[in-house]
């Protein structure tokens, strides 16, 4: 084996972004209340997930917040075993995309389900969650 070619180590840089959430505040607050809210365009009636403050179809900013139901059906899923840098302390996790009864889709972790028992078409429920570190999120759970 050839030895590794010489390299020069760059100056290290840690980046953290402060992401504005003023316009989706209701969504993140809803999680703390145990609810999942999203937006609907009052002009064209389109329901969104993830929530948006401006309708890309009719360009109206006249939107309303509505509460989403919990019933969903899995359209596809994967289990992630090789994890990215900021998830190195996690156990492998299952990510699913499920369609809610209202028609919108959500991507989230599927918890408490074995991979071999997880199937396309499986019914799950969407649940808001505040993690032990205080992170606001949401997850799917088997019914």
């Amino acid at each position: 084996m050839a030895s590794r070619p010489p390299t020069l180590r760059s100056r290290p840089l840690t980046l953290t972004y402060e992401i504005p959430i003023s316009k989706t505040h209701r969504f993140w607050n809803g999680i703390k209340e145990g609810k999942i809210y999203t937006t609907k365009c009052k002009k064209c009636g389109k329901l969104f997930f993830p929530p948006v403050a401006d309708c890309p179809t009719c360009l109206s900013s006249d939107i309303e917040w509505v509460e989403l139901g919990t019933e969903a059906e899995i359209e596809t899923f994967t289990q992630v075993l090789v994890l990215p840098a900021t998830f190195q302390n996690n156990e492998p996790y299952t990510i699913a995309i499920a369609r809610l009864k209202e028609g919108v889709r959500v991507l989230a972790w599927l918890k408490d389900a074995k991979l071999e028992e997880t199937k396309v078409g499986m019914k799950v429920k969407l649940a808001p969650k505040v993690s032990s570190e205080g992170m606001l999120t949401y997850e799917f759970l088997p019914i």
Binding site: T7, V80, V82, P84, N90, R105, V106
Partner: protein, 388 residues
């Protein structure tokens, strides 16, 4: 729009290239492209450089590469379209010449991915979608994005893990014959099936490697082709591009990439040809499932019948439509921003019948080739049709 031809191509060796920095890597592709066209940097008034970046130290890769390759002073732009950045640069250079604004332009695809560790690469590519809604809380990785498509394709069409392995075996076979490829060895279906799971159902051999590489393409107008006495110009016959939603949840389905369908339709319309006319193709096989979906999205077969092509060996040399006979992203390697230009490099070599090993030269009658380059998970797509 006027006719534009590829008149010079160059490609660095793909691989783990800790022996060169970003600019030196670009030089390895640009110098052979100059020599191939019989011109130098002084003759090129416009440069489009494709690179996704973020994993190397330079913020402005275009200026760094242009200076090192003797292109300072030319009009310069850095194009980003994720894994299709090279195609975005090619399209930009093509449009500059086709519009009549310049007679010659160069597209450079460049990526240096191995200066950071694998978890960092997985993090940065995982963020390439919609960080806020799909990565922040859920840590989705790029293999996982395509695994979601594999699961859906398997559930709907009965695609199996063995089918996916066949794509990897085919592409490794041709990479072993390609001197610029990252991997120079064949693998078996058993090797692929027994490799560790990365994001179920995708395993190590379903995934392209993390690769450093550069590729360069020089384009010229018909007048310039005559002036330079280029003996085998390869003409850009059609170009199509499209895009898909940032959120994967806002896609139509997970069994194909709508952006690829639209880009291909536009390219075929532009070129006035159909999928049956294509005699050799490069398809975006960042993961094995992506190659099967590409067969269907381009129209080499009906939706859901991609597995039939791979099972029957129809995408091998001598088959109905040879695909990725340079090793593909899977085994030639996928230096993200370089891939689009490297596809054009390979197809130019094919159309000129200049491939180093006869066993991987596609038989040609019509001399029509197609490059399909996807950025992100169908976030961007570019389809280019070339004709000798």
């Amino acid at each position: 729009m006027r006719k534009v031809a590829v008149i010079g191509v160059g490609n660095s060796k793909f691989g783990a290239r800790q022996d060169v920095n970003l600019a030196e890597l670009a030089f390895e592709a640009v110098k052979p492209a100059y020599e191939d066209a019989g011109i130098t940097g002084k003759d090129i008034p416009f440069v489009a450089l494709g690179s996704a970046g973020g994993w190397y130290e330079e913020t402005l890769p275009a200026v760094v590469a242009a200076e090192y390759c003797g292109l300072t002073g030319a009009g310069l732009v850095h194009c980003e379209a994720a894994c299709a950045s090279g195609s975005a640069a090619f399209a930009t250079a093509y449009l500059d010449v086709a519009s009549g604004h310049n007679d010659v332009a160069i597209a450079i695809g460049l990526e240096k991915m191995r200066e950071v560790d694998t978890p960092t690469i997985l993090e940065l590519i995982g963020r390439a979608g919609y960080y806020f809604w799909e990565f922040h809380n859920f840590g989705i990785t790029f293999p996982a994005y395509y695994a979601l498509h594999a699961t859906a394709h398997m559930a709907k069409y009965g695609t199996t893990q063995e089918d996916l392995a066949l794509v990897s075996v085919k592409n490794h076979k041709y990479a072993a014959m390609n001197p610029v490829a990252h991997f120079q060895r064949e693998i078996t279906v058993k090797d692929a099936l027994e490799s560790p799971v990365i994001a179920w159902p995708l395993k190590l051999y379903d995934c392209c490697p993390v690769t450093d590489g550069a590729s360069a393409i020089i384009l010229a107008s018909e007048e310039k082709v005559k002036e330079l006495k280029i003996d085998t110009p390869v003409w850009v016959a059609g170009l199509g591009y499209s895009s898909g939603s940032a959120n994967l949840t806002n896609r139509e389905n997970y069994v194909g990439l709508t952006a690829a369908v639209h880009a291909a339709q536009r390219a075929f319309k532009d070129a006035g040809v159909s999928p049956d006319d294509i005699e050799v193709a490069t398809a975006h096989d960042c993961f094995t499932i992506a190659e099967i979906m590409a067969y269907e999205d381009i129209g080499f077969c009906k939706k859901g019948e991609g597995t039939k092509l791979i099972r029957e060996g129809q995408t091998e040399v001598g088959g109905k439509i040879p695909v990725n006979i340079d090793g593909g992203l899977k085994a030639k390697g996928h230096p993200i921003g370089a891939t689009g230009c490297s596809m054009i490099y390979e197809l130019t070599k094919q159309l000129r019948e200049e491939v180093e090993k006869k066993q991987r030269q596609a038989p040609l009658k019509k001399y029509i080739a197609l490059a399909h380059n996807v950025g992100g998970t169908g976030h961007y797509c570019y389809v280019t049709i070339l004709r000798r």
